[in-house]
């Protein structure tokens, strides 16, 4: 499997020296090594201030490393000549759906990236329609974004990225501002993009149940990667996860409490179905 994202010894600090406050620059990322293979579905977990959003912004060259290097699809993020190529390769979806939609008409917003890339009309029309169908928003193509729900807006934002045919999509807490219905819609869309189009997904989240649906979980704490494994292996270490200040999925938590109370139940349960099954076996 080819690596699409290679991060080597990444350090980053916001430069406070310029504002004259004389504060010591605060190091947000303190030496991150991470490689992500093509087609992977990775969740990045961490509580507020762990540096997970800062890390995401490095993949898209919005922020550049203070030290170390970030390579995406073979392009170094500090290579200004190839910055548009890089951004086409790695698309980014942000938390607030309202603040990333540019146009007053859904289909024109989806076309925004393509217009910037200078894609000819016929090709653009086709790609816009295909992306809207892929996220299930084709019927809304002539609506105004203000008429849509949060989940629908976020799917439009995803369509706008997919239209650019990236190899990788970074989503920075895309469901944080949505209701449960919107969260389900967005998660289903992301999974489908990964499965059907083989797009690499880096999902930054603080919802444990979303992380549990991924193939791989990277846990960050104080600017470092502290865990990097399958969700099952990560969440099995309940004590460690809680120590970092994160929760585990509710099903895992329940089993963990049961084990502490002396019930013989497996420690690596992460979904509700597994949990129900295990409980039935014991008590049923």
């Amino acid at each position: 499997m080819e690596n699409i994202i290679e991060i080597k010894d990444l350090h980053f600090s916001y430069n406070n020296a310029e504002d004259g406050s004389g504060e010591k620059p605060q190091e947000v990322l303190r030496g991150i090594d991470l490689t992500i293979g093509e087609g992977e579905f990775v969740a990045v977990l961490g509580h507020n201030g762990s540096g997970k959003s800062t890390l995401a912004k490095h993949i898209n060259a919005i922020l550049l490393p203070t030290q170390g290097s970030v390579t995406v699809g073979g392009i170094d993020t500090t290579d200004e000549e190839r910055i548009f190529e890089l951004r086409q390769c790695a698309g980014m979806v942000f938390q607030n759906p309202d603040n990333q939609i540019v146009s007053s008409i859904v289909e024109e917003d989806v076309a925004f990236g393509l217009e910037n890339m200078g894609v000819p009309y016929e090709e653009m029309r086709k790609r816009v329609d295909d992306s809207l169908r892929a996220v299930g928003m084709y019927d809304y193509r002539l609506h105004s974004p203000s008429q849509l729900s949060g989940g629908q807006k976020q799917r439009v934002a995803i369509a706008g990225i997919i239209a650019m045919q990236p190899r990788c999509i970074i989503l920075d807490e895309p469901t944080a501002m949505l209701d449960p219905q919107g969260r389900r819609e967005v998660m289903a869309t992301i999974k489908q993009m990964n499965r059907e189009k083989g797009i690499t997904i880096v999902l930054i989240t603080h919802y444990m149940d979303e992380a549990a649906q991924c193939e791989r979980v990277v846990v960050m704490d104080k600017g470092l990667v502290v865990m990097d494994d399958t969700p099952r292996a990560v969440f099995a270490r309940v004590d460690r996860v809680k120590e970092i200040g994160l929760d585990v999925p509710q099903a895992t938590e329940l089993c963990w409490e049961l084990r502490r109370a002396g019930v013989d139940i497996p420690g690596d349960i992460i979904t509700e179905e597994e949990c129900a099954e295990a409980l039935e076996k014991i008590f049923g």
Binding site: F94, V102, E107, Y121, R125, P145, G160
Partner: protein, 268 residues
């Protein structure tokens, strides 16, 4: 209450006027304004009036809406009419009371100006009634694009305009929320003296500004992520095609203009 605000007051429809190429519509509106200002006789205005009525009928928008468009400018209209009525001194005196004097010339000019301004408002309302603001912005960008050679930032202005249009509903919603939040904390926005209310508006404006700056910052990042790089080398999803009907409409307008010119020469 804030939800009622509409900008540009576009009435979606499928009439022939709606379907005209917006670039042509803008040009036709400009010719129409020239037509109104070219002549000094009522005959010229009659040509304009026929044109206006024809266009309004074709647009299938109720005439009531056009009267509504004149309403906010009524005070201005009345002041102009009164000033002309009393200050122009030419021809036979029709009425005199102390220093107030109405002459035939004054009456003529006063009515003439009124009719001209009303028609001007109605004609330009027709443009905004039948063209959505975003299409209008786009058409203006294309019409002004030759100015790019003079380094006039056409694309940038159009982009700002369309982002402003995009964010109007978002900001209205946000203002509503902030107002409710401040009311819940006891701010008097709808009651109290004028000065008090004005002072309390600050409690709404400051949070609104702060959040707008935050939105602007996030939007700029999102646009950069989608390879935004100014107007250079951009292609467009929205295509504008001029069809036969656009040229016919333009030809008809020019015909009316010619008629107005001929009449203004003949009635000199």
């Amino acid at each position: 209450m804030l939800r009622d605000i509409t900008i540009g007051q576009f009435f979606p429809g499928d009439s022939i006027i709606h379907r005209l190429d917006p670039r042509f519509k803008i040009i036709i509106t400009i010719i129409y304004i020239v037509m109104l200002f070219i002549g000094r006789s009522f005959w010229c205005l009659l040509v304009g009036a026929v044109f206006t009525v024809m266009a309004i009928l074709l647009s299938k928008i109720p005439f009531k809406m056009f009267l509504k468009s004149v309403k906010p400018l009524l005070p201005f209209l009345l002041i102009t009419a009164l000033l002309n009525l009393f200050l122009v001194d030419s021809g036979e005196t029709l009425f005199q009371w102390r220093f107030l004097k109405i002459t035939e010339g004054g009456l003529n000019i006063s009515v003439f100006m009124m009719v001209r301004i009303v028609m001007l408002i109605m004609g330009s309302s027709l443009l905004t009634y039948t063209t959505s603001p975003i299409t209008l912005t786009d058409a203006i960008e294309r019409l002004l694009s030759p100015l790019k050679k003079l380094r006039f930032p056409v694309h940038e202005l159009a982009m700002m305009m369309s982002i402003a249009l995009r964010f109007i509903p978002t900001l209205i919603e946000e203002t509503d929320k902030i107002m409710s939040a401040q009311k819940a904390r006891g701010a008097e926005i709808d009651t109290g003296s004028f000065m008090n209310r004005a002072r309390n508006m600050i409690a709404i404006l400051i949070p609104l500004f702060i959040s707008s700056f935050r939105r602007a910052d996030e939007l700029a990042t999102a646009m950069e992520c989608r390879c935004y790089n100014g107007g250079e080398g951009r292609t467009r999803l929205r295509q504008m095609h001029s069809a036969a009907r656009d040229y016919i409409a333009l030809a008809v307008t020019l015909l009316f203009l010619a008629a107005a010119i001929v009449i203004s020469i003949l009635t000199k």
